[in-house]
């Protein structure tokens, strides 16, 4: 712990996440090609693009669920290296919400939330439970605390998953298609929680096709295709006046219905 440089004092211009010429291959397949990206503290970034474009892979590199082979990734000034201590330090600061929720089915909702604070942050159990209940209030399901994930609806499970990540008091939240596995009537309850989170100033990187959410929340839009960042722009400009042909095609496909 002590050997890891702690976060510098807060500043609006501070770089939270930085990609420097990052490449990644799956065997011969070049998934990420020369990714350069800076996300500042408090910034909300929405990543979109056709499936297979590498957007999930890119954000999964940030907490090293995937390893990159070339270039540098810095999170809060700490470079991601294979050193397990560095990786664990970064994972403590980066929360992630998955498409498939990935709640722990053998633990109650409350236990899902308190597990990491108690074991990783060494927080006293009582304090962790109070924090967990606060966060469950925030995602509007405190009454489900004693239930098991299997007893909840998809939307409720995803809100629990968001609360579970927040329980670690992360600096950044990553969302990997958080609404793609949900039934349509449950998408809104999850997006509402995410909008609220954005309004509170959380740094967020969100892979999603929910363009309404992107318009309301995003500071910048990133369009990826074929493993490359094709276009980066503020949402207004991005939707009204996309520059590249590929972006235009993609937008016409997903906005047409």
């Amino acid at each position: 712990m002590a050997s890891i440089p702690s976060a510098a004092p807060q500043g609006a211009e501070q770089k939270m996440i930085e990609f420097r010429a990052v490449h990644k291959w799956y065997g011969d397949f070049h998934v990420l090609k020369d990714i350069n990206l800076v996300v500042r503290r408090g910034e909300r970034v929405v990543v979109c693009g056709p499936s297979g474009s590498g957007k999930s892979t890119m954000i999964r590199c940030i907490n090293r669920l995937e390893e990159h082979q070339k270039g540098q990734i810095l999170v809060d000034g700490i470079e991601l290296t294979p050193d397990a201590k560095h990786v664990e330090a970064i994972r403590r600061e980066v929360g992630m919400v998955f498409q498939q929720f990935n709640l722990f089915p053998h633990l109650t909702v409350l236990e899902n939330l308190t597990l990491a604070p108690v074991w990783v942050r060494k927080m006293p159990k009582k304090e962790a439970e109070e924090l967990a209940m606060q966060l469950l209030e925030r995602v509007k399901i405190p009454e489900q605390a004693k239930k098991y994930p299997g007893q909840l609806s998809g939307g409720q499970q995803q809100r629990v998953a968001i609360a579970r990540s927040l329980c670690m008091r992360p600096q950044v939240m990553l969302f990997d298609e958080p609404t793609s596995a949900l039934d349509p009537e449950m998408i809104k309850e999850v997006l509402d929680v995410m909008v609220e989170l954005a309004n509170e100033g959380m740094t967020m990187i969100c892979v999603t096709h929910e363009m309404g959410f992107a318009r309301t929340v995003a500071d910048s839009m990133i369009f990826m295709d074929g493993g490359q960042i094709v276009e980066t722009a503020p949402p207004k400009e991005f939707f009204a006046n996309p520059k590249s042909e590929r972006t235009k095609l993609f937008l016409s496909q997903i906005l047409s219905h």
Binding site: A89, F98, Q100, P105, V120, K147, Y148, R164
Partner: protein
Amino acid sequence: MTDLAQSPTQSLENGPPGPALRAWHWARGHLFNGPVNTILTLVIVYAFFRVVVPIVRWALIDATWSADSDRACQAAGGACWAFLGSWGRFIIFGRFPYGEQWRPALVLVLFVVMLAVSARPGMRGRTLIAIWLGGIVAVAALMWGGFLGMAYVETELWNGLPLTLILALGGVGFAFPIGVLAALGRRSKLPAIRWLSVAYIELIRGVPLITLLFMASLMVPLFLPTGISIAKLWRAEIGFALFFGAYLAEAVRGGLQAIARGQYEAADALGLGYWQKTCLIILPQALTISIPSIVNLFIGAFKDTTLITIVGIFDVLQDANTGLNDPAWRHAYVEAYATIGMIFFAFCYFMSRYSQYLERRLRRSGTGPRRQ
């Protein structure tokens, strides 16, 4: 039964028929519907009277309950339970000093109590560990003795049912951590650990248990420095633990493979270290999935303890054989083996029922793993 005053259609449904009639309807519907079922029913009834009735006659009605030798039983023509009157106590306790046999008897009670307490729902892990550590100390103290006026008894004289239970529970108790570690090792990213685990599992699984027991009892002493010796019982115990550890590793691996990748990723993303992830997230789910195959192995292991005879350790089965060497009871072998069979069946049946109950409970409370 039927009210004739009512219309015919109603009369059929009017009121429930009496029990005798209901039984007859049921029998006609289920036992005699068609020629095949009728023949089957008759065959089964015939077999019942030819097989079950003679067994009951032999075991209970014509049985001899007290006699000095099997000659008296032969006259009666039934089972010779008098054999157990003479040799039953030896079968259970073997050559443990006669006057001290209350000690292994107490050990048996302790084991049953500990198993019963452990089987109760809602037992906390910490309490269980405390109970078993205390239990092991108590069992060791009672068996060895050598204090408080209890004579010292060497492991050579630990025989019979207490020995069988010590072998089985001890073997399984050591096999469990070995098996879990080997299963995890087989999936390790570190090649050295992976190959070591694979080598252990494949080597041990490829060798018959009897060979392993012989090796444990004959070859281990050769490798030990002079002056150090391990009692035969513990060498056999080590052999058992290694053997079942290898099988257990494969059972646990099956459970590990069933855990979705998302569970690992979620634990990683929260910053849990390898052991935290493994012990808090992965193993609880993997072991739940593996319960049926683990219990299956335990039942097999329990029965395989009888192979210990081969290295000259007297378990409950060998004690029964000793009893049959008594010239007075040479013909009581059916009774002797039936008794041993029932003892083993009782324990195995308990394990089997307990695992069914455990699975039901885990499924009902929703704690069982679900694919995501």
